[in-house]
C-alpha cells in the first residue's frame, strides 16, 4: 500500500518536473531572446550553448533535473551578468512557509470549535448564522480581503503595518504584527471550507451507535463531542487540509505581493515581471514538488490515523 503510493508519487513527480523542465523550450520565438534580449550575439550564443535548448528532450530533462536536485536553480540574467536564483530562495522559502503554517493554524483554531458546535446544534439559529457567514467568507477573494483589511485596519485605524517583513528572531512582537493581516486574509476562506466540512462529518458521526452508547453511559455531552466524536470526524478534514495547501500556495503568492513580504510569491512576481524564465522555472518546480510531497505525506498520515483505511485498501 505504501509502496504503491510511493510509485504513484514518483510518477507524478516525473511528469510535473518534465513539464517544468521543458517550460523554456516552450517559449514562443527564440527562448534566448526572451531570457536575455539585451545580450550581444556572442553572449546569446554562449547562453544558448549553456542552456542546451537545442538538445533532445531527454538530454534537456536529465540536465535540468540533475541541476535542480543539486541546488543549481539557474540564474537571474541582467546586463550586469548572472546571479544565482538559489541565493534568494533560501531567504524567501521560510517567509512563505511561516505564512502558510500560521494561516492553517488560525483556520483550524477557528474552524474546529465552530464546526463542532454548529454540528451539535444543527439547525439552530447559531448554526444557520455560522453557515451563512461561512458561505459569505467563501465568496470573498483573499486578495480583495487583504486590500480591504489593509485599508480599514492598516490605513484608517492605523493599528497594524501593511507592508514589509520582520524575522521572528529579530523582533517577535513586530513579526506577529506584520504577519497578522496576511495571515487573516489567507485564513478566512480556509475557515469556511473546514467548518462546513467538519460540520457535515460531525452530524454523520453523531448518528453512530457508539455515540448513542457513550451518551447512554452518562458521559457529559461535552466529553462525547470532543473526545468521542471529533476524532473520527476529523479524517476528511485532514485530507482536505492537505489538498487545500494548493489553494493556500496560490493565496500566499498573491498575498505576499500585496503586503510586500519577501517570500516565494514576491520572487515569482519579480521573475514574471522581469521575464526571468529560468528563475520562473525553478520557482514553479519548488512549489509544485513541495505540493506533491505534502499531499503524499497527508495520504500516508491518513492511513496511519485510521486503521480502517489501512486494512480496507491493502
Amino acid at each position: 500500500m505504501l509502496l504503491r503510493r510511493l510509485v504513484h508519487l514518483l510518477v507524478v513527480l516525473f511528469f510535473v518536473t518534465l513539464f517544468v523542465a521543458l517550460l523554456t523550450s516552450m517559449l514562443p520565438g527564440d527562448p534566448v531572446d526572451a531570457i536575455a534580449g539585451f545580450a550581444s550575439p556572442e553572449q546569446k550564443d554562449a547562453l544558448r550553448d549553456d542552456l542546451g535548448l537545442d538538445d533532445p528532450v531527454p538530454v534537456q530533462y536529465a540536465r535540468w533535473i540533475s541541476d535542480f536536485v543539486t541546488g543549481d536553480l539557474g540564474g537571474y540574467y541582467s546586463i550586469t551578468g548572472e546571479r544565482p536564483v538559489m541565493d534568494r530562495v533560501s531567504d524567501s522559502l521560510p517567509v512563505s512557509l511561516q505564512l502558510m503554517v500560521y494561516a492553517q493554524i488560525l483556520a483550524l483554531l477557528v474552524a474546529i470549535p465552530a464546526g463542532v458546535i454548529s454540528a451539535y446544534r444543527a439547525g439552530s439559529r447559531a448554526d444557520r448564522a455560522a453557515n451563512a457567514t461561512a458561505f459569505g467568507m467563501l465568496a470573498f477573494p483573499n486578495f480583495a480581503l487583504a486590500l480591504v483589511l489593509a485599508y480599514y485596519v492598516g490605513v484608517q485605524a492605523d493599528l497594524l503595518p501593511v507592508s514589509g517583513y520582520v524575522a521572528p528572531e529579530e523582533d517577535l512582537v513586530e513579526h506577529i504584527r506584520r504577519m497578522a493581516l496576511p495571515t487573516v486574509s489567507l485564513a478566512v476562506a480556509q475557515i469556511a471550507v473546514y467548518m462546513r466540512l467538519l460540520r457535515s462529518d460531525m452530524i454523520a458521526t453523531l448518528q453512530e451507535d457508539f455515540i448513542t452508547m457513550a451518551k447512554s453511559k452518562g458521559i457529559s455531552p461535552r466529553r462525547v463531542l470532543w473526545r468521542h466524536a471529533l476524532r473520527p470526524s476529523s479524517l476528511t478534514l485532514l485530507t482536505v487540509a492537505g489538498l487545500n495547501v494548493g489553494t493556500l500556495i496560490g493565496g500566499v503568492v498573491v498575498i505576499e505581493v500585496i503586503f510586500s513580504l519577501p517570500g516565494m510569491g514576491l520572487l515569482l512576481y519579480e521573475a514574471i515581471n522581469a521575464r526571468q524564465y529560468i528563475a520562473l522555472q525553478s520557482l514553479v518546480a519548488i512549489v509544485a514538488v513541495g505540493y506533491v510531497v505534502i499531499n503524499f505525506l497527508v495520504d500516508v498520515l491518513y492511513a496511519v490515523l485510521d486503521p480502517r483505511i489501512r486494512h480496507a485498501r491493502s
Binding site: 510535473v16 517550460l23 444543527a122 467563501l138 480583495a144 448518528q207 500556495i249 514574471i272 499531499n295
Partner: protein, 324 residues
C-alpha cells in the same frame, strides 16, 4: 488507484435510511431526517428561494450590462478626465467616480465585466468540452483507458491552480508588446486547462455509476455503438453534476483572474477587467479606496451568486461532494 468494480454510488439517493435510531426524546421526524441527511432539508428549501432568485437577477443584470456596454450611454473607458482623477463616487455625475488616471470607473466596471465574464464562460466551456470528453471516456471504458486518463488528471491537479495558470500565461503571453487579444486567448486556454481535471473527475465519477444502469446495458445488448451510448444515454444524466461544478468553476475563474492581475498577468491593460481594475487600485488605496472597493463588491456578489446557484443545482440533483 480506484477500484474498477463500480462501487461508486451504490447508495440509492432519496430512500430513507432503514437503520432504526434509538432516541430518548420524542421523535421529531423532520429533525431526525435533517440530522441523517444534512443536505436534504436544504435541498427541499432550495427550490431557488429568495436568494436563488436574487442570484439569478444579479447575474442576469451583470451579463446584460456587459453585453450592452457598446450601446449604453457610458463614457469611454479609456478616456482620461483630469477633474475626476481619484475622485470618489458621485463626482461630476460620474456615478462610481474616477480611477487613478481619471477614467470613469462605472464605464470601466461595465467593460471590465465583459472581459471577466467572457473569460469565465469561455474557459469553463473549454474545460467542460475537454474535461467532459476525457472524464466520460475514462468512466465509460474503464480499465487501461481509465488508469491513464485518471493518472493524467492527478498530474494536472498536482499543480496548485494559480501557479499552473500563471506559468502558462507567463510562458505564452508575457513578452513585450503582447496584444490584449493574445493575452485573452492564452488566459482562456490556461484557465480552461486548470479546470479540466476538476470537471473531468466529476464527469468520470458520475459516468462510472451511470454506466452500470440497466438502460445502458440494454442499449449495449441492442448493439448500440459505444460513442452513441456515451453521448445519448450517459451524458444527459451526468450533465447536472457537470453543470453544478461548472458554475462553481466560473466563480473560481473570476477570482483567479483577479489574483493573476495582482501578479501582473491578468487581462492586459488598458482593456479593463474586474481583476485588473482592483489590482490597479492597489497603489491608490490610501487616497482613493473606492477604486478597490467597487470591484471587490462586484466580484463578491458575482462569486456568491455563482456559488449559491451551484449549490442549488447540486442539492437538487444530489451530486455528491465526495465524488470530487
Amino acid at each position: 488507484m480506484p477500484a474498477p468494480d463500480g462501487s461508486v454510488g451504490t447508495e440509492v439517493p432519496g430512500l430513507p435510511s432503514l437503520t432504526p435510531t434509538a432516541t430518548a426524546e420524542p421523535v421529531d421526524l423532520v429533525a431526525a431526517d435533517e440530522r441523517l441527511h444534512p443536505e436534504s432539508r436544504s435541498a427541499r428549501q432550495r427550490r431557488l428561494g429568495v436568494f436563488g432568485v436574487a442570484s439569478i437577477v444579479w447575474l442576469a443584470f451583470v451579463t446584460l450590462v456587459a453585453v450592452l456596454a457598446p450601446v449604453l450611454p457610458l463614457d469611454d473607458p479609456n478616456e482620461n478626465v483630469a477633474s475626476i482623477v481619484g475622485q470618489p463616487p458621485g463626482t461630476d455625475g460620474h456615478l462610481l467616480g474616477g480611477d487613478a488616471l481619471g477614467r470613469d470607473l462605472l464605464s470601466r466596471m461595465v467593460w471590465g465585466g465583459r472581459a471577466s465574464l467572457v473569460l469565465a464562460v469561455a474557459s469553463i466551456i473549454f474545460g467542460l468540452v475537454a474535461g467532459g470528453a476525457l472524464g466520460l471516456a475514462a468512466g465509460y471504458f474503464r480499465g487501461r483507458t481509465d488508469t491513464v486518463l485518471a493518472g493524467s488528471f492527478d498530474v494536472l491537479l498536482s499543480f496548485p491552480q494559480l501557479i499552473l495558470a500563471l506559468t502558462l500565461v507567463t510562458v505564452f503571453a508575457s513578452g513585450e508588446g503582447v496584444s490584449s487579444a493574445r493575452r485573452m486567448v492564452v488566459l482562456i486556454f490556461a484557465l480552461g486547462v486548470v479546470s479540466i481535471p476538476v470537471l473531468a473527475r466529476i464527469t468520470r465519477a458520475n459516468t462510472l455509476s451511470w454506466s452500470q444502469r440497466e438502460f445502458v446495458m440494454a442499449a449495449r445488448a441492442l448493439g448500440t455503438k459505444n460513442w452513441r451510448i456515451m453521448f445519448a444515454e450517459v451524458l444527459p444524466n451526468v450533465m447536472p453534476a457537470m453543470f453544478s461544478i461548472a458554475l462553481l468553476g466560473m466563480a473560481v475563474v473570476v477570482v483567479v483572474e483577479g489574483g493573476l492581475s495582482v501578479l501582473g498577468v491578468g487581462v492586459q491593460l488598458p482593456t479593463p477587467s474586474w481583476g485588473n481594475i482592483l489590482a490597479e487600485g492597489r497603489s491608490e488605496l490610501r487616497d482613493a479606496p473606492h477604486i478597490v472597493l467597487v470591484p471587490t463588491v462586484v466580484i463578491f456578489l458575482t462569486v456568491l451568486a455563482l456559488n449559491y446557484l451551484g449549490d442549488v443545482v447540486r442539492a437538487r440533483f444530489d451530486v455528491r461532494e465526495s465524488a470530487l
